[in-house]
């Protein structure tokens, strides 16, 4: 199972084994990682699962669709590395991925 490290804004690390096929958001929620809210439950509607994916991992993640980008416009402290965790499916390729979380989700 791919190992993924979620790093909270305060630096606290959560290294977890996340099942392939579920989203990065579900992986964080089911492991109770603070800092990811996932209010809409993965509908790409709420921007409360905003995360930062390091540039060198971006190509291994599924590409962001237009809706995701448009939702991200309203997230807090968006950068070029910003993604919505509900839109990234965990695959074997993501083993070792480091996900940074923003200071707030709303």
């Amino acid at each position: 199972m791919p190992k993924i490290t979620y790093i909270e804004h305060n630096g606290t690390q959560h290294t977890l084994e996340v099942a392939e096929g579920i989203s990065l958001m579900q992986g964080a929620i089911s492991n109770m990682v603070p800092g990811i809210e996932g209010d809409c439950g993965g509908l790409c509607a709420c921007a409360t699962c905003h995360v930062y994916i390091p540039s060198d991992w971006q190509s291994k993640c599924s590409e962001a669709e237009e809706l995701e980008n448009s939702i991200l416009d309203f997230a807090y402290d968006v950068t070029n590395n910003s993604r919505l965790a509900c839109q990234i499916e965990v695959t074997a390729e993501l083993d070792g991925l480091i996900v940074h979380l923003p200071s707030r989700q709303y």
Binding site: S30, C40, C46, D73
Partner: protein, 387 residues
């Protein structure tokens, strides 16, 4: 408000929802009374000003409010709007959170946005507080020393913590939605189902570990796990949820077995030794006495909890001799911790004749030099003497 019929205009003015209309440049061209109440600004203070007066731009957000309104005005999917709350500010400068709904229409050939705002600050805070409290309790449950699981009335697993994962070998995503019978050994499944049903039907809210005996679970790899469980019932509306805390007692049972085996081995040594042996308390009461020692005490049937010197060691002696021997023995026992070791040769009268005994008293201390026991040993030298 020439574009609204007079009567409709009154209705909109007194609508209990805060409603504002802005033009394509973002200027407020209409606000109803509820906007004044909500924001603290009067109509005259607002009209002609930019909507960012109510929802100011933020360095933390990529888009300003007008861009947002433009983008979402004609969104056919209302579910998208459900989650889009914006940062607002009222007249006294307090930050608020506004839930905004928007639609657009054309008036006098130019675009207008019809906007409804609701102050959801408290609602959002309450929901965050609940979410955070839930997160804290979830994290406590996750690291709990006991497996925690919840099943519903159809005995399907709905909650599963990390410890349960370790005990049974199933990950959360494998087990959620599965029937509890997956965790019960074959053959016990029907009985377990009946027990669960009984618990659902009776009036008892909880049943604690200890009130029930050991139960058995089955690991993903098939091995049987000895368990103890507490169970509690929660009715939420018309659903009944049963939550259990499960303790894996494999290690405890193994430790108990090891202790029992060790006890058997040491008892075999003690009981079968050729030498007579007795373990005494620090004040000389008999705690344990072995077979060889009991054989020297033909006139006694009770040994434990009697002073060692009060046992019938001298059945054929005169009362005066017995008193002297007893006093000597007692003196040796009560002072043994000052003497390290007492060793003497004594003669005991026995129904088979006089016995020549190599007798010793050994003080036993713990690692802090605290007296624990006295070991009394007697080696019968009679046969040796004769040879």
């Amino acid at each position: 408000m020439s574009f609204i019929e007079p009567e409709a205009s009154n209705i909109i003015r007194d609508l209990p929802e805060a409603l504002l209309i802005i033009n394509a440049q973002g200027e407020l061209i209409y606000v109803n009374r509820a906007v004044e109440t909500l924001t603290g600004f009067s109509e005259t203070e607002l009209i002609g000003n930019h909507v960012s007066m109510l929802m100011p731009p933020s360095a933390h957000r990529r888009l300003d409010v007008l861009t947002w309104l433009t983008r979402w005005a004609d969104n056919p999917d209302p579910s998208q709007l459900r989650y889009l709350n914006l940062d607002g500010v009222n007249k006294n400068g307090t930050e608020r959170r506004y839930r905004v709904r928007v639609s657009s229409f054309k008036s006098e050939q130019s675009a207008r946005f019809l906007v409804i705002i609701r102050d959801v600050t408290e609602e959002e805070e309450a929901s965050r507080r609940l979410q955070h409290a839930r997160l804290v309790s979830d994290r406590i449950l996750a690291i709990g020393d006991q497996g925690i699981l919840t099943i519903n009335e159809s005995q399907t697993i709905e909650y599963w913590n990390k410890r349960a994962e370790q005990i049974f070998g199933y990950r959360e995503e494998e087990i959620l939605g599965q029937n509890i019978s997956m965790l019960i050994p074959e053959g016990l499944s029907t009985k377990h189902q009946q027990q669960v049903q009984q618990f659902v039907d009776n009036n008892i809210a909880s049943r604690l570990m200890g009130e029930r005996g050991e139960i058995k679970g089955v690991h993903k790899d098939g091995h049987i796990i000895p368990l103890e469980a507490s169970i509690t019932k929660t009715q939420i509306e018309d659903r009944i949820l049963l939550s259990a805390q499960v303790k894996d007692i494999t290690a405890r049972k193994q430790a108990e077995k090891n202790l029992h085996d060790s006890e058997l081995r040491f008892r075999a040594l003690f009981e079968n030794a050729f030498e007579g042996m007795a373990l005494l308390s620090v004040d000389g009461l008999v705690i344990e006495i072995n077979k060889a020692a009991r054989e020297l005490l033909a006139n006694d049937s009770v040994f434990e909890n009697r002073y060692f010197w009060d046992l019938n060691w001298w059945p054929s002696g005169t009362p005066e001799d017995i008193e002297i021997s007893k006093a000597q023995l007692k003196e040796n026992i009560v002072n043994v911790f000052d003497r390290d070791l007492v060793r003497l040769r004594v003669e005991l009268s026995h129904h088979t004749g006089s016995r020549d005994i190599d007798f010793s008293l050994i003080p036993v201390i713990d690692e802090d030099n605290k007296p624990l026991y006295i070991l009394a040993e007697g080696r019968d030298l009679t046969a040796l003497d004769k040879s």
